[in-house]
C-alpha cells in the first residue's frame, strides 16, 4: 500500500514525517539530523514532484508529494480520480502534513534562500513530538 505524505513542496514537513514513518529518524533526533535528511528543502519551486522515501516495516512504500497550499483539495481530487478510474483509494493513504509549515513558505524560500533549510529544520524540530505522534497514530489506526 503506497503511503503519501503531503506538504506544500513535498520536501519539508512531509519529508520529516515520511522519515519518522520509516524509522530513519525518531523524536529524539537533532536539528542537524533533519537538515541531513535526503531531499530536505530541495525543489522549492517545483510543486507536484513525488519522492520515494523508503519502505516501512510492513513493506509499504512511503512517498512525499508537494501540493502547494491545496493539500485538502488534492485529497478530494485524488479520491474522485481513483473512483473514476476504478481504483480503490483504500489502497493508498494520503496524509496532509502541510499544517506544520507556514503559508509564507514560498516567498520565504525566495527571499531567504540560504537560511531556509536551517530555519525550517528548527521549526520542524520544535514540532517533532507532535508530528511523531501523528505518524504513530496513523501507523496504529489509520491503515
Amino acid at each position: 500500500m503506497p503511503i503519501v505524505y503531503l506538504c506544500s513542496t513535498g520536501t519539508y514537513s512531509s519529508i520529516v514525517a515520511a522519515n519518522l514513518h520509516i524509522g530513519r529518524i525518531d523524536e529524539q533526533c537533532k536539528v542537524q539530523d533533519i537538515i541531513s535528511l535526503p531531499h530536505f528543502g530541495e525543489f522549492i519551486n517545483r510543486t507536484g514532484i513525488f519522492l520515494f522515501i523508503g519502505e516501512d516495516s510492513k513493506g509499504d512504500m512511503v512517498y512525499t508529494l508537494g501540493t502547494g497550499c491545496e493539500a485538502q483539495l488534492i485529497k478530494k481530487s485524488a479520491l474522485d480520480l481513483a473512483k473514476i478510474m476504478g481504483y480503490q483509494l483504500d489502497h493508498t493513504k494520503l496524509i496532509d502534513m502541510s499544517n506544520y509549515i507556514p503559508k509564507y513558505l514560498g516567498w520565504f524560500n525566495t527571499v531567504f534562500h540560504k537560511q531556509r533549510r536551517i530555519y525550517f529544520a528548527k521549526r520542524l524540530y520544535r514540532q517533532l513530538k507532535t508530528m511523531d505522534k501523528e505518524v504513530r497514530n496513523f501507523k496504529e489506526q489509520g491503515r
Binding site: P2, V4, T47, G48, I49, F50, Y63, L65, G66, T67, G68, C69, E70, Q72, L73, I74, K75, K76, S77, A78, D80, L81, A82, I84, M85, Y87, L89, H91, T92
Partner: protein, 158 residues
C-alpha cells in the same frame, strides 16, 4: 479517455467548456443566460465542493467528460494529479487535463468572485454570464482542439 476540464472554482469556464464537449450546449450558438443556468454545476459550486471531480457526460467518441476546480495551482494541478496517478498505478495515458483559465476574461473573474466567494449572486451572476457569453467562442475553439486531438485518438485505441 477521461477528459477533465479544470479552472479556479469549477463553476463557470470549466463547466461551459465541458458542456460544449459533452453536447449540452451547441458549439456554434452563444447560449442565453437561462441555457447557461440550466447547466449542471454552473454558478453553483461552493468552497466545500472544490477539488471534487464531477461527471458532465460523454462525447461522440465515448470519452468521459468531467470538471473540477484547482484554485491557484495552475499547471501544477496536472503535475500533482499525474504524480498521484503514477503512485496509485493508474494509467496516465487515459487522463487528459484541460486548463480553461487562459480563456477566462475579467468579467468572469469579477462576476465569479462576487457570486461564489462573496455570495452576492444577484450582482455577480449577470456579470459572469455576460463574461461567459463573450468568451464562449474561445471555449468552443478549445473544445474543438481537444475533440480533434483526443477524440480520434480514442477511436484509434478502440
Amino acid at each position: 479517455m477521461h477528459i477533465i476540464y479544470n479552472c479556479y472554482g469549477g463553476s463557470h469556464s470549466s463547466v461551459t467548456a465541458a458542456s460544449i464537449h459533452a453536447g449540452l450546449l451547441k458549439d456554434n450558438v452563444v447560449p442565453t443566460s437561462s441555457q447557461l443556468l440550466k447547466l449542471p454545476y454552473y454558478d453553483k459550486q461552493v468552497a466545500k465542493d472544490h477539488g471534487l471531480i464531477r461527471y458532465m457526460g460523454e462525447d461522440e467518441y465515448k470519452n468521459k467528460i468531467y470538471i473540477t476546480s484547482k484554485h491557484n495551482l495552475g499547471s501544477n494541478y496536472e503535475t500533482i494529479m499525474r504524480s498521484l496517478a503514477c503512485i496509485m498505478e493508474i494509467s496516465n495515458e487515459k487522463l487528459v487535463f484541460v486548463d480553461t483559465m487562459p480563456y477566462v476574461n475579467w468579467l468572469m473573474v469579477i462576476g465569479g468572485f462576487l457570486s461564489r466567494r462573496l455570495g452576492i449572486v444577484f450582482l455577480g451572476r449577470p456579470i459572469v454570464i455576460k463574461g461567459t457569453q463573450i468568451s464562449f467562442l474561445k471555449f468552443t475553439h478549445l473544445v474543438n482542439i481537444i475533440k480533434i486531438k483526443y477524440g480520434r485518438l480514442n477511436l484509434e485505441c478502440q
